[in-house]
């Protein structure tokens, strides 16, 4: 994992001191709210419905057990004993007091974390495949490149005031677990037959009120040109992106309005100019240093547990279920990666208590080299578990209610904070997720349904990616009452698609039955081996519409 150098530490120390001073000046009345607001947003501090919210960046979703312990401490000391993992691999605290936030930032800095660029019209946290470095289908580990992008984009003076926020995602595998087609820039690592590394570069993807699948702007960008090409894309966007209307200010609108061909030409011209400036993409020494942090760990091939995996798998039905649903193959023989579901039946998607965080940090130390990943689906991953340790890990996770065997199933729902917390929301998301989860609480039924992605957003900003849910739900305000639009057929992976609205919306009391109707219909009409999205792609909306609006 990347570790800060003196330069990184110095930046954070300065930044924290600066924000402490800004908070004090605001409290003393030297700064107006209008003056202070952009300062607090630049440090990840939002005002929600009931309180401030602090969003902490987790670069490419990888963090250590010590950092998790610090999250637990912050949750307990300054918040209400929990944290919330978001769809951009970050963690949010929902109840910090403004007067405490400088102290929180100092605590975060002590473990090499911060909240810089988690808000505002700048380049946000670069997200990555949660199985980076261990996935069997991986061309190369995307995290060193994500770290290079992090260093390039952090406090980049030219891109501190873009037309709108800017999000980059990267994957090292063809099977897309990072939703790269729905980011401002999506990067897929490719390798030529000669063994040269480069990137397929997508641009102009996004969700929100105008959902668009990203377009390929460059089929193969050689590795050494990563930063100059990103710089060219950002420069072209910074110059030409609309600033007159915030709803048309994202790069996706620029690409849509000009067409990908024209935008590609503009970027190409910009890029050639940059290259002629003798732009240093990345000094080789620095690149080597960064890659060193991501070298594969030394795997200990001696298990720490004495329980036999095979016996346990045979005898323990719940363990077998957890293995079948939550375990992922690992590129090192004898090891596995495990999804820790933050979707307990009837629970709040993405939430985890401070006590759970503390215990999990200990388990990561024992079983997974002290490292944890967050996923854009609001779960966590232990990426380096010896297979013989899985029974013991499962028992330990089960003891703290973190062994729900539902990864990728009906109750593994993405939900934004919605109207329970968010000042932008029109309707609640979390109670709906809880009701669906309770309705489908039978694990055998969930497995019979198979892979199903349900995503619930409380407003059109689409923080829960509802457009790309197999079943997507959008909360709206209908004459002062919460109502829900239903969408079917979305997908965020390499076969990206945007869901279509079924028809008229549903009231709060109708929506859960409507979802069950859709699922029951799918079970009746699916072919052998199909998951929900396959059946939808084969038959379209009609069979579902017929029963929904009968």
């Amino acid at each position: 994992m990347y570790q800060y150098d003196a330069y990184d530490h110095n930046i954070l120390a300065q930044r924290t001191a600066e924000f402490r001073d800004q908070v004090q000046r605001r409290l003393d009345g030297e700064l107006t709210e209008e003056e202070f607001r952009p300062m607090r947003l630049a440090n990840g501090v939002y005002l929600q419905l009931h309180a401030y919210m602090l969003r902490v960046a987790i670069p490419y979703g990888t963090f250590t057990s010590n950092q998790l312990r610090k999250f637990a401490y912050i949750g307990r000391e300054y918040d209400r004993g929990y944290g919330h993992f978001t769809t951009r691999q970050n963690i949010q605290f929902n109840w910090p007091k403004l007067i405490d936030i400088p102290d929180i930032l100092e605590d975060l800095a002590s473990v090499e974390m911060h909240a810089i660029q988690t808000s505002g019209n700048c380049i946000r946290n670069t997200t990555a495949d949660q199985l980076a470095g261990v996935a069997v289908d991986e061309v190369a580990d995307p995290r060193p490149y994500a770290e290079i992008i992090r260093q390039w984009s952090t406090l980049h003076p030219e891109f501190a005031n873009l037309p709108r926020k800017f999000k980059i995602a990267i994957t090292g595998s063809e099977h897309d677990r990072a939703a790269i087609k729905f980011h401002d820039i999506g990067l897929e690592i490719k390798k030529t037959d000669q063994g040269n590394i480069g990137f397929k570069v997508l641009v102009g993807g996004g969700l929100g009120r105008t959902p668009i699948i990203g377009s390929v702007i460059k089929g193969f960008l050689p590795e050494k040109h990563l930063l100059s090409y990103l710089e060219a894309i950002l420069r072209a966007y910074n110059l030409d992106g609309r600033r007159d209307n915030k709803y048309k200010a994202r790069i996706k609108i620029l690409v849509l309005e000009n067409g990908i061909e024209t935008y590609r030409e503009t970027v190409e011209k910009e890029w050639q100019e940059i290259l002629q400036e003798n732009y240093t993409d990345l000094p080789i020494a620095a690149q080597k240093l960064i890659f060193k942090h991501f070298e594969p760990p030394e795997y200990d091939h001696k298990p720490k547990s004495i329980i036999s995996f095979d016996d346990y798998y045979k005898d323990q039905k719940d363990f077998a279920r957890w293995i079948n649903n939550n375990m992922h193959d690992h590129k090192v023989v004898g090891y596995a990666a495990i999804t820790i579901s933050l979707k307990p039946i009837g629970g709040i998607p993405g939430d985890i208590s401070s006590n759970q965080m503390d215990t999990l940090a200990g388990l990561a130390d024992i079983y997974s080299l002290g490292e944890i990943r967050s996923t854009h689906e609001q779960n966590l991953v232990l990426a380096h578990v010896h297979k013989d340790d899985l029974p013991a890990l499962w028992r330990d996770l089960d003891a703290i209610d973190l062994a729900t065997p539902n990864h990728g199933l009906v109750s593994d729902i993405i939900a934004c904070p919605g109207l329970d917390y968010c000042a932008l929301a029109n309707a609640r998301s979390i109670p709906l997720a809880q009701e669906i989860s309770n309705r489908f609480d039978d694990p055998a039924r969930a497995e019979e349904i198979g892979e199903l992605k349900i995503k619930i957003s409380g407003c059109i900003n689409a923080c829960a990616h509802h457009h790309v849910g197999h079943i997507g739900i959008l909360g709206v305000d209908k004459k002062g009452k919460e109502a829900y639009q239903l969408m079917l057929g979305g997908s965020a992976n390499e076969n990206a698609s945007i869901g279509k609205i079924t028809g008229r919306g549903f009231s709060e009391n109708e929506i859960i039955d409507a979802i069950e109707t859709v699922i029951e219909t799918y079970l009746k009409i699916r072919n052998d081996g199909e998951i929900f999205i396959d059946t939808y792609n084969r038959l379209g909306m009609e069979p579902f519409k017929e029963v929904l609006y009968d």
Partner: protein, 94 residues
């Protein structure tokens, strides 16, 4: 008899968040309280706003706004779900 086209003025209260911790507060007529049932209800929006703004300086408040309420019920009830949740906290946690 023809129905009047003039709608009765909506009853409103003033709300805000405290600067130092974000806590939701309501204007009582002389101070800011965390209890919505203590809020001063008025159909004189301008007058209410003026009175409330006079009392802001010492309170360090942000996001100050008028919200519509139904004051005819036994308990003061905001008309929108957003404000109902703001007054009681998240419906999923205490």
């Amino acid at each position: 008899m023809n129905k009047s086209n003039i709608k009765p003025l909506a009853q409103q209260i003033m709300t805000a968040n405290r600067l130092k911790d974000g806590t939701v507060v309501y204007f009582t007529g002389s101070r800011w309280s965390t209890e919505i049932h203590e809020a001063l209800v008025s159909d004189d929006n301008e007058g209410l706003e003026k009175e409330a703004l006079k009392n802001i300086e010492n309170e360090d408040l942000i996001s100050v706004e008028l919200i519509k309420v139904d004051a005819n019920k036994s308990q003061l009830a905001p008309l929108t779900m957003r404000e109902k949740i703001r007054s009681t906290g998240p419906t999923i946690r205490c």
